[in-house]
Symmetry: C2
Subunit: 222 residues, 2 copies
């Protein structure tokens, strides 16, 4: 397996190429850390983008949605998808507005898309989505029913090419700006999870069902 | 000015319509809180999506980028853009995988796009981007030079229609699942900014340039 996923004809980063990265491991790390992605497709002659959840297994990205979802339908009909994940890592505040921006890690992926139709495979992938939202959660919840599985469209996207763009660390002020009396630096940002808010209906009303291991691990990891 | 931006032919939410919202104020709040957006355009016959920064003024979304950026060029050439912003608000953990998801606030916007060519207007909008990254920052940095302005393409997108989708609060388990001995609830998430990391080059090496008001306000607000 090649160590890189690009650059290809669609993914060569032209603007700020020093921030570009095509390594598989770097791209996969961004995909896996991102809690959601944005998917584009051609709908009625125009490009359309929507947010959705994703799961990854090797070079395959899985998407899912309602069978009535216009973007998902278009992805399947055209057999291709463009997907982007972006992690917001804070601020990079330069001495000039031109050099100021955010810190981020992003990927853009192009891949061949097709519908997952096999019931066993669909059930397996749908569990992957539950674990993508929160690792370990799939084994804690009620198993998916046949009707729930039928209500969900699962799409597989095999990565053809992908690129990452990574921006972090000290700002890139040109030499001519360095002596300006302007504060410059980075302000890191990360996602912080707060105290779980238990539901209060049904069996949860008793207050005796403990916070599950999946949630504990998430909170302990931060 | 109408209070709603949709639904229109492109933005009617079909899946989970109870989460849909078309109110201008709700849509604007998501746009303004989002640190970045994803923009889709038709590039060489395929839909492509990239992350980028945005600024909003009334019903207008501004985008900017390198004049070599394929998506930005396509947006201008076709005179239309589809833009999505999504805020990740944590986990909504139901008793079933089917009902489990993330908490989020998202918008999808369709608009008419055109290039901003007037130099004075371009300079004004570019300052808006600096303040969109961090409110108040534009007045703290060196003013933009003519050459910097020429290196940047600014695009205006007038919102034609838009929709928001909001998901929060207790989970939506069906009655049949309520008595299952499975913990359910939400785990809130938010962006947490950390301690600023000052640059150490140029005038910053002295360690005497104080953290600016814009950064102080950001940290005080959380």
């Amino acid at each position: 397996m090649s160590d890189v996923l690009g650059p290809g004809p669609k993914t060569r980063v032209r603007r700020l190429p020093t921030k570009a990265n095509y390594e598989r491991d770097v791209i996969f790390a961004v995909i896996d850390e991102a809690p959601l992605c944005h998917v584009a497709a051609l709908v009625k002659g125009s490009a359309m983008v929507i947010p959705t959840l994703h799961a990854r297994e090797g070079d395959t990205i899985y998407l899912h949605g309602s069978p009535s979802n216009a973007v998902m339908k278009a992805v399947v009909e055209r057999g291709e998808a463009c997907i982007s994940m972006t992690l917001y890592d804070g601020l990079r505040l330069a001495r000039s507005g031109f050099e100021s921006s955010i810190a981020y890690r992003s990927v853009v992926i192009f891949g061949a898309a097709s519908l997952v139709t096999d019931d066993v495979e669909k059930a397996r992938v749908l569990d992957m989505f539950v674990d993508a939202v929160l690792p370990g959660r799939a084994s804690e919840v009620r198993a998916m029913s046949d009707s729930e599985r039928r209500l969900t469209m699962v799409v597989t996207v095999t990565i053809d090419e992908a690129s990452a763009k990574l921006s972090s660390g000290p700002t890139d002020d040109p030499d001519g700006d360095l002596e300006l009396p302007v504060w410059s630096g980075t302000v890191p940002a990360r996602i912080q999870f707060g105290t779980p808010i238990p539901d209060t209906n049904g069996a949860m009303a008793s207050g005796t069902i403990p916070v599950p291991a999946s949630v504990k691990r998430l909170l302990d990891s931060q």
